[in-house]
Amino acid sequence: MRGLGSLAAACAVASALAACDLPGDVGYVEIKTVPVSPLSQPSLYLDTVKLDPLKKGVAVLRQRVGTRRLATDGSSGQLAQICDIVVQKNRITTVTVSVAERPPRCQCRSRTGTAQASSPVCVG
């Protein structure tokens, strides 16, 4: 019972993108930052959920299939989108965020041909 309680508590931890039980098809997003340890790491958001600081400059997150919006803090206090990430079933989509730039810039490992350079669409 206590184990179940701990498990439930772990699921409830207000960690970014807690995904203990994602219904439906899921895929994976790998977010890397360069440089790995910047002096000040900007906050990153997947849709509107703030990500925990990336450990050693990388995070692998389980996500529902669909398109997620990667954003950072904008100058006006609103979220500023930096790219879209397409999550496909049992596939991994990798995006590298250049955090030394202002605003941070996405570099997709693989991207759709039609996307604009200012807001690329990364695919798996």
């Binding site: 701990s6 960690s15 807690a18 995904a19 899921v26 994976y28 692998v60 997150l61 049992n90 991994i92």
Partner: protein, 223 residues
Amino acid sequence: MIGSILRLCAEKSAGLLAAALLLLVLAAPAPPVLAQAERGSQLDAITPVEEFSRQLDEFKKNIPELNKKIEDSAGSVDRWTDVERARKEIEELRAIVGAALGAVSDNGMVSQLGDKALSHARDKLKALEQETRFKPEEKQFLIDQWRKLKDETERATEELGTARRQFVELLRTLQTNEDFIDELVQIRQAQKALEVIRRLTKDIRDASDQLKKLIGGIKPPGA
């Protein structure tokens, strides 16, 4: 590779369990200064670590066939003559690796429990260093036990990080291979389409030849 990761996870898990059990055993004959409530709190205190060990164990049990399946299927990727079958096998492998990656992903259950266990061990160590209830030797003993536990948990979470990187690479390789197989399927389909066009062209040529013969055979009277 994955097998060794899993073995390491299992070893770490066993180590953590052993450490947790040792702590439980040692907590039992504790001096009377430890009240019942405090003992209860000691038991609660090791729960995140136990839970993390249990989850690691479960993770290991859930994917015992992974390594074997990957090895068995590695050959199938080379047998690309049956692209549909190869694609299906890769899809199945992606599902297996995906499930394994799900457990160790940063927002996965095992990783989050690992973070929680680690944070708890660090907090406990910090709190014990400020503790004034115990005799110096008792305090030192408890600190040593928690320090050992913290080090073990750190190593176990690092192993999870290694497993995560390996699964990511594996998944990427599988999807790259699948993309390549998809391209092969498209080539095969294009070849089939070409065969159809060639057959059609030949049929038209044959019909044309017959028509020519027919026309050639028509001779007007007196010719």
